[in-house]
């Protein structure tokens, strides 16, 4: 440590060393706190694909809404076509409500009471017959897997449909029906069948009690429409900004 130039060189070297050290510390800290690299690639893959799916759905919906707006505008300019479009919308609404029969591909599920003899007599007889909750489980599973129209023994399941035990029979849409129960569902047959046959799923649970379940895929079938009367005594459409 004799002259000034010497010391400045040493200081410069130390500066470089300190710089390298801190930059490296910063980089390593960033890598460790990233979090993303710790997630498994498969998780990221599934997150990405589901996000993409949602995006696609949203885009499709946007496109259909835009088309509708165009149609309305066109109709407004022409006048004559308006009736047609309103008719189409009414049909769509009826379809949604289940007032019209629907046809398409789907599955038919047949449920029958257990034929297993309850020989020991130590089990409750009730376990071996189909209950309203069993049917509801099946229908719920069908809806979860994308069923678009469901009927039970030719009664369309709509928003107000009840499914409940009424003595030894089952009541749906205020009509009585009994086993065997045929549930028709229009939708993606493979998805619905897979959902029902999931391990520890609905089919597994019911088969434990010997309840007979058969599922058959149909390429084209008809689900009947709701044929009762739909009236609203209490509910009225809510108008935005109207009187409460």
């Amino acid at each position: 440590m004799k002259n000034k130039g010497f010391q400045i060189t040493i200081a410069f070297i130390c500066l470089i060393l300190g710089l390298m050290l801190t930059v490296q510390f910063k980089s390593i800290k960033k890598i460790n706190s990233g979090g993303i690299d710790k997630m498994r690639a498969s998780e990221l893959q599934s997150a990405l694909s589901s996000a993409n799916e949602k995006l696609d759905d949203a885009k499709r919906e946007l496109a259909s809404k835009e088309r509708k707006i165009e149609q309305y505008q066109e109709a407004a300019s022409k006048g004559g076509k308006l009736g047609q479009i309103i008719q189409k919308d009414i049909n769509q609404a009826k379809m949604l409500a289940g007032l019209t029969a629907a046809q398409g591909a789907g599955i038919v599920i047949t449920l029958n009471d257990s034929k297993v003899r309850n020989e020991q007599g130590d089990m409750n007889e009730n376990y071996f017959v189909i209950h309203d909750s069993d049917i509801l489980l099946v229908i719920n599973e069908l809806r979860a897997s994308g069923a678009e129209a469901i009927s039970l023994n030719d009664q369309r399941v709509i928003a107000t449909s009840e499914i409940r035990c009424a003595g030894p029979v089952l009541s749906i849409n205020n009509t009585r029906t009994s086993a065997p129960f045929r549930i028709k569902a229009i939708g993606n047959a493979i998805d619905m069948e897979n959902a029902l046959k999931m391990r520890d799923g609905v089919v597994d649970a019911l088969q434990q009690w010997g309840i007979e379940i058969t599922i058959s895929k149909q390429d084209n079938m008809v689900v009947p429409g709701f044929d009762g009367a739909l009236t609203f005594k209490y509910a009225v459409p809510f108008k935005e900004g109207g009187n409460e």
Partner: protein, 109 residues
């Protein structure tokens, strides 16, 4: 001595405020380069205590060792062998030896 400490602090401060960071893929090379630099500094200090410090050797060692260590790590990655271990071992070993020399000089002063 003070000037070198000031330089070190200045370097640390600069590193904190510079927006750059090393990409993940290259952080390993940087790590061995830092090890080589640390070794040079230890070696330089030991040599200066022994009175046989040579600026040319110090500077060339500082940069040359860093480049060689990073280069070894890079080649090792390409070959699929952990050659950077050689640098880690060599410089780590030498750092302890230099530290031992520094200790002896400072304690026997």
């Amino acid at each position: 001595m003070y000037l070198s400490l000031i330089g070190l602090v200045l370097g640390v401060v600069m590193g904190i405020f510079l927006p750059y960071s090393i990409p993940i893929a290259y952080s390993k090379y940087m790590a061995v380069a830092i090890l080589a630099c640390l070794d040079s500094v230890f070696g330089g200090y030991a040599a200066s205590l022994q009175g046989k410090f040579d600026m040319k050797i110090f500077i060339s060692g500082f940069f040359g060792n860093a480049l060689l260590a990073a280069g070894l790590a890079f080649i090792g990655d390409k070959l699929g062998a952990d050659i950077y271990m050689a640098a880690v071992f060599a410089f780590g070993n030498r750092m302890f030896i230099n530290f031992a020399i520094i200790r002896r000089y400072l304690l026997n002063k």
